[in-house]
Symmetry: C2
Subunit: 265 residues, 2 copies
């Protein structure tokens, strides 16, 4: 049974793209078949995975605005990793689709339209709660929230959960918050400890009727590691670029924890 | 003569809000009268400056959608520092204003409607090139681009300049790129050096007809410093929270360099 996961956080620069790229690669290296979808007009996931993104390429823009099949837009990265690329024309989609019927469910519609040969679909979202992110939420089975343990990044957490609850109630009953993953973690700072405590406290008291009632803080923390910021410039994921680095080790552990929590070991 | 400056970068988490908050505070501490405008629905600048932002407060949303005067929406932070707060309703503005005549010039119109008693207006923008950022560009005399010296952050630089050139040609003839400021700078990493070289190289070869022809890379670099990530949680700027820290020192230098380059020493 294919699971679709949206990685969202409207706060910018918290590790969304880095987590989709490297978690996808680590899952693929473990033999799971993974489709990564780039829903950000900046195409950073596409770049990170080394897929050429030009306006001539058929990508997620065409899937959403012309009904192109996801299988027709997917590009092969390896035997077990494919990506649906983005492009800058996606930036216009929010306005272009403003009067399209069911504009929030275009991606869900394309996912339902065919049986895809993947175990996991991971969706990278832009730093906003607009139409593109809503499409990811309407299509997803679950949400993972990458979070930098900083005060400003914590501020939008409530609004993010509110948006998930709205989509779950009105559009996508199955949607659940699966977990929060701490990124760019600097254990030497007091701030990281304080923010981590805040998140754990919040998740412990979720009332059982909310879509985040069973959400967990992943035990794996992604430490700040410059190799993670270097590897996109080579179009490589961390396991190919610097397999011994903290970044690679952390995303390997995250992949193992992710699989264990999904009962897929 | 009041100068209006937009701090923009569609890449998320590169230091836009931190720079508007702390540069504004440093300029205000030097006796310049500063108005900071929060154009991000996440209201991080409002939070950072310790201004309460509730939907009951009159803020930038009302300025853009109801024609409220900027002077009526400004909140006093100190004798020389005021802020026009944001709120979450701003998130709906992009769609709400889609059929408003001159929707990109609403802020410019409000700035032109009254004489404001400020030397500098600094505008914090969300991580996108949508309607809110376009309003900042249409209203501004100049643009400052905060940039984290990472590969992904560099990718959107061309698109950012393209957008500035379009606004300059079609809406706001006076618009110029004043400079690029490197944030979260980690001099021990090779990556920072490489990205810095790329930017310097690019700015050296700008053809003289572009709005960035005379843009500079600020000599002051804002080093990564955890105190800068801590101070927003107290609603304080770095000069009030940790005046001896690297963060405070760097923003003091940036303010001095900014004033010198504006011939305002
Ligand atoms: N653990 C880490 N250690 C060091 N650098 C990191 C780490 N994770 C991500 N980065 C770098 O930090 C920056 C922000 O990460 P990333 O782009 O993945 O965040 P994002 O949430 O996708 O940003 P946006 O909101 O712009 O889409 C990038 O330059 C990335 O290379
Ligand atoms: N020089 C620095 N050293 C350490 N942390 C920093 C520094 N500058 C900013 N930060 C922290 O990094 C995070 C990103 O910075 P900030 O929020 O200012 O970026 P932004 O570009 O405004 O993000 P967004 O795109 O979400 O609006 C924040 O948590 C901030 O506190
Ligand atoms: Mg991203
Ligand atoms: Mg910001």
């Amino acid at each position: 049974l294919m699971r679709t996961i949206a990685l969202i956080n409207q706060k910018g620069g918290v590790g969304k793209t880095t987590t989709v790229a490297n978690l996808s690669a680590a899952l693929a290296a473990r033999g799971r078949r993974v489709l990564a979808i780039d829903l950000d007009p900046q195409s950073h996931l596409t770049l990170h995975l080394g897929a050429e993104a030009g306006t001539a390429t058929t990508g997620i823009y065409h899937v959403l605005t012309e009904g192109t099949a996801l299988s027709a837009a997917a590009m092969k990265i390896s035997e077990t990793l494919w990506v649906v690329p983005s492009s800058i024309d996606l930036a216009g989609a929010e306005i272009e689709l403003v009067s399209t019927v069911g504009r929030e469910q275009l991606l869900a519609d394309r996912l339902a339209a065919e049986t895809l040969p993947f175990d996991y679909v991971l969706i990278d979202c832009p730093p906003s709660l607009g139409l593109l992110t809503l499409n990811a939420l309407a299509a997803a089975d679950e949400v993972i929230i990458p979070l930098q343990p900083h005060f400003l990044a914590l501020q939008g957490f409530g609004k993010l959960l509110e948006t998930v609850a709205l989509v779950q109630r009105r559009i996508n009953r199955k949607l659940r918050v699966f977990g929060v993953v701490l990124c760019m973690y600097e254990s030497a700072t007091r701030l990281a400890g304080e923010v981590t405590d805040d998140i754990e406290e919040f998740l412990r008291h979720g009332d059982s009727s909310t879509p985040w009632a069973r959400a967990k803080l992943f035990e794996t923390r992604i430490r700040r590691n410059v190799k993670l910021a270097e590897c996109p410039s080579f179009g490589k994921t961390i396991n190919a670029y610097a397999p011994q680095s903290n970044g690679a080790v952390d995303y390997e552990f995250l992949a193992d924890e992710f699989l264990a929590l999904h009962g897929d070991m």
